[in-house]
């Protein structure tokens, strides 16, 4: 279907009429949307140098093709500025990658969210928040980029809540969940560099995840004690091997600034942290024959101790973001998808 066909258009007298019509047509997540006028969409497309009809990705299960024009329209609606569009585009590419498993992660009962982690110079160029409060509201780039991806999920992946999207509860993280890694605050290599990108290459990583488990630890003052507690937290819930994801299965752990100070203060790099964590996270569990895990599902691992099926240390992704004041780190449990990193390419 890759022909030079444009999306249909609609005409409205004004903002009020547009809002009523767009809500009736199901375009919105419930919050106000910016009218995706032809001019704005063209401007957004010019930032990525794509033809409107260019296919970004497909969802074979649903006979869906998603085009650059559709992504641009959703980015406009989300409230993005034109300079954010290349980030949105790269994040959507990550979602629609085979390993993003878009049909699965956007329809699941669990209500997985699409976390967008941004690395590289673009964070400063567009004024992203990587520090205090970065996981929540308050920054236009963070908020609207995260939202644009979720509007694409609604309008282009066609995962409408209560219809194809079966999330029983859902979560507010499915409005928007986007931030930058705080590369400047640390001597640690940023995630994208660890994944093989040049430091000055901007990258968007799309991480479809279920729950963020918080490790609150204000007592451990040496790396081993802190990381042992992190291991214990991560092993509470199993991550099982999925044949489709195979060896590409990833897990992202966010080390908060207070915990990072302890690790850096002891001279530990990200690689040191990973070397300590990986064998302990993947160590075989000690569950007896025939015993099921704490969720009653799998006959592997103890009730609150299960091995994580992460195939290699480089699939354990470590990031750092946030501000000081709470001694927290986060285990970001994946849904059935790998974190996919895609270069952000802007045409100027």
């Amino acid at each position: 279907m890759t022909t030079a066909v444009r999306q249909p258009t609609k005409r409205y007298d004004g903002y009020e009429a547009f809002t009523a019509g767009a809500i009736a047509d199901g375009w919105s997540d419930g919050l106000p949307i910016v009218p995706p006028t032809a001019e704005r969409v063209e401007e957004f497309l010019s930032t990525i140098g794509k033809d409107p009809w260019e296919v970004v990705g497909t969802i074979p299960t649903r006979d869906i093709e998603i085009t650059a024009e559709q992504v641009a329209a959703n980015a406009v609606m989300a409230g993005c500025l034109p300079a954010y569009m290349p980030v949105v585009y790269a994040a959507v590419q990550g979602h629609l990658h085979r390993l993003g498993n878009a049909h699965c992660v956007t329809a699941t009962l669990t209500g997985a969210s699409q976390m967008v982690i941004v690395n590289g110079p673009v964070r400063r160029e567009i004024g992203m928040n990587c520090g205090p409060g970065a996981l929540g509201p308050g920054n236009r780039a963070n908020a609207t980029i995260g939202r644009a991806v979720r509007l694409v999920v609604r309008n282009c992946v066609q995962s409408v809540p209560g219809v194809a999207d079966r999330a029983a509860y859902s979560t507010p993280a499915r409005y928007s969940y986007c931030f930058g890694e705080d590369e400047e605050a640390t001597s640690w290599d940023p995630m994208h560099v660890e994944r093989g990108f040049a430091r000055d290459q901007s990258v968007a990583t799309l991480n479809s995840m279920t729950d963020a488990f918080a490790l609150f630890d204000d007592r451990s003052d040496v790396p081993e004690l802190l990381l042992d507690r992190l291991v214990h937290l991560c092993r509470v819930r199993p991550i099982n091997r999925d044949q489709y994801l195979g060896d590409e299965r990833t897990m992202v752990i966010l080390i908060g600034p207070e915990h990072r100070h302890i690790l850096e203060g002891a001279g530990w790099s990200k690689a040191d942290v990973r070397s300590y964590l990986y064998p302990r996270l993947t160590a075989p569990h000690t569950r007896g024959e025939g015993e099921r895990d704490g969720q009653g599902l799998h006959t592997t691992g103890g009730p609150t101790d299960s091995s994580l099926a992460i195939s290699a240390p480089d699939k354990l992704l470590l990031i750092t973001a946030g501000g000081e004041g709470r001694q927290l780190s986060w285990a970001l449990f994946p849904h059935i998808a790998s974190a996919v990193s895609t270069p952000i390419i802007a045409t100027h």
């Binding site: 419930g30 919050l31 205090p132 929540g136 609604r154 979560t171 507010p172 609150f216 709470r326 986060w330």
Partner: protein, 324 residues
Amino acid sequence: MTPLELLADAETYDDFASRTAEERWADGLPCAPYEAQTVARTIDRLGADFASFTLQCAPAVTLSDVCSLSLLAGCAEEHVPVVVAAVKALDAMVGRSGFDTVLDPEAQQVVIVNGPIRQALDVNCGIGAFGPGWRANATIGRAVRFVVRHAGVRHASAFGDPAQYTFAFGEDEEGSDWIPLHVQRGFSADTSTATVHSFTKAGRNFDIANVPLPEHISRMAVFLRDTASGTDWFGDARLTILLAVGHERRRLYLDGGWSKSDVQHQLFEALTSQDQFGRPLTLDSPDDVVIVAAGGPADSSEWCFVGRAGSPGTQPIPNLEAIP
């Protein structure tokens, strides 16, 4: 500038968008432009009872501010009374427990709606209730956060949380035989209310083990104690647990003949007893385990929201008189 003045000054949509983005109460997402007369009309429709509206914890915040911020958040006029009730409920909590305890910058607020207004406004109580897709849920939750920030609460300085964009849902009164929250709290079933809980930690208990109810309660207690640990930066401040229970868990309790109150009492006992599961929680009474029915089918989990801000506040939602 007041929210009203700000709007009056903008000359283009982009101008409006960039001005609103700079406001202290903004969250980074687009705001909705609105007519100034809508604010005046909404205040009129709220009636004489609200002529002396004031917030004890934020006396500078006017009813006009609350209306304007609601409309900016994307509310229609009809949603504004829910926001007003929620803000008053929050104010009462601050009065009881203190500003810093209730409105810690890292804390999140959830608005729970009961009563007939849920149908009138299409407040989602079932599948997807905590997330996007329903204007009432999205804009009411957002408006409350706008007011909170306008009242002076700073943005989070540690991590923040997406629940600080918006978090509001209705109790699934029709999908459950349980007594609704507002009736438990002394309101008649046909009164509409807004209840607000301020929390610092949320957790989902995913557990599909098919065990008898008493064992299920023990397992839940382990999960709840675990979730509650790491919320003690306020030391002795009173702990409250809000539990949101979906279809499958409710099925489990109903099959066992357990009312909401039974679950509250059983959990209270399990959480406060000294046993092999570790340190008991400090709860004053089963009322500190607040339970609501919400969420969709087929999922074997429940959500808990743990706060140290004291008991959630509940306020009746005022009527809007008909547009003259």
